[in-house]
Amino acid sequence: MNKNIRILIAKPGLDGHDRGAKYVARALKDAGYEVIYTGIRQTPEAIVKTAIQEDVDFVGLSLLSGAHNELFPRIVNLLREKGAGDIIVFGGGVIPESDIPSLKEKGIRAIFTPGTPIKDITDFIETVK
């Protein structure tokens, strides 16, 4: 048996549009990963605790409300505070191109905007795992 890659797909904040998150969760399952899905309206604290309890390798955040500049970096920082800065965070959703450089600077390793082929996400996971 090899080490299985575990990924938490989470939706922080108040936006309830979960179709994208569910699509990604299913596609990652089909690619052979173990995906933990926790549903909509999660606080950053709940996401970080879940990531640590589940000992995931990746956290994928989905947000379509525009609060990504606030919430994504907060989750990265909380993970670091809890000694779990090695968990890789990526994000997706309707995120303006102009926001991506500063998100990456704050520790979000990749951002996948609408229309991204799923292969880009699995390639990313395979490269950085």
Partner: protein, 321 residues
């Protein structure tokens, strides 16, 4: 003692999570066995519940409500929620904690999702070791939620002190309830979705089946209770039935019997899997299989004849005392 074992005993969340991954991945066997060996003296305090039933019966939602009850009593709770792995890709969607996510920020609740990773029986291969980790870490209650089961996934019975069998109306007639398998492993029967049509009838059917069973030789009463997890009804009653059932089996010696039985099964399992491993190595089965298949296919030899010859040679060479 390993650093990891020390962290588990201290109750360090990340340490516990890492320890579970170690037993789950099963790659570093020596490290895994050393971990469990050093945790073992610290085990035996927790009460282990199993919760099982068909897919969609409401196991996770009911568990969410029962955790609320346990938290009112200031109990520390660990949940191991098992979901199936894909037989094709090995991937899995672990979605049980979705229903329990309101406990995510509670420090006294630890929820861990596990994929079955090809293990049959309704739990994951590493569930037994994960229970020991939570037990040594000081959780008062450890609850195993099985995958949605059919009729034969009964391994949860071998792991837990109390099995809750969650049933729902609408899955078939009373013949289903008469069948062997899952229907026989419940200690407490919970009929969930009690507001749905057919709930009362299901209760009558379960009572009938249990009366047949009790008539035979069994002396333990199997309580039946009805709940609606969504409407939050019947939960406190179910909780108190679980508590008094536990007190009963503690007093009448059935708990100790169950726990010894569990150790017996575990020892058998470890012995067999270790023997299997060494036989595999000795006979080099994987490498030779192709030529064996060819010989049997061409009828040069029959399967029993071929293997008896190999196995007898193995038995002569080992020094079994």
């Amino acid at each position: 003692m390993q650093e990891l074992a020390r962290r588990v005993i201290k109750g360090d969340i990340r340490g516990i999570a890492k320890a579970i991954s170690l037993v789950e991945d099963g790659v570093e066997t020596v490290k895994k066995e050393a971990l469990i060996d050093s945790l073992y003296p610290h085990c035996g305090h927790a009460i282990i519940w199993g919760i099982t039933g068909p897919p969609g019966a409401g196991k996770s939602s009911l568990l969410d409500r029962l955790i609320e009850q346990l938290r009112q009593d200031k109990q520390k709770v660990a949940v191991i929620a098992v979901d199936p792995s894909s037989p094709f890709t090995g991937g899995a969607i672990l979605g049980d904690r979705l229903r329990m996510q309101k406990h995510a920020v509670d420090d006294a609740v630890f929820i861990r999702s596990m994929a079955s990773r090809g293990h049959l029986g309704g739990v994951a291969g590493a569930t037994g070791d994960a229970i020991k980790i939570f037990d040594a870490a000081g959780y008062d209650h450890i609850i195993i939620e099985t995958i949605g089961v059919g009729q034969t996934e009964i391994e949860v019975m071998e792991l837990s002190d109390i099995v809750l069998l969650v049933l729902v109306p609408g899955l078939g007639d009373e013949i289903q309830a008469l069948k062997a398998g899952v229907m026989e492993i419940g200690d407490i029967f919970i009929i969930n979705k009690k507001d749905h049509d057919g709930a009362d009838r299901l209760r009558t059917e379960v009572e009938y089946v249990l009366s047949l069973k009790n008539g035979a030789e069994n002396t333990t009463e199997h309580p039946i209770t009805m709940t609606s997890a969504t409407l939050n009804e019947g939960i406190a009653e179910a909780y108190s039935i679980i508590q008094s059932y536990y007190t009963t089996i503690l007093k009448n010696g059935n708990l100790a019997k169950k726990r010894k039985n569990r150790i017996e099964n575990e020892l058998k399992h470890i012995a067999l899997s270790k023997i299997k491993e060494s036989v595999d190595k000795f006979l080099n089965i994987d490498d030779r299989l192709d030529s064996w298949v060819e010989d049997v296919f061409q009828k040069k030899v029959s399967p029993y004849k071929l293997l008896n010859k190999k196995i007898n040679k193995f038995l002569q060479e080992i020094d079994w005392k």
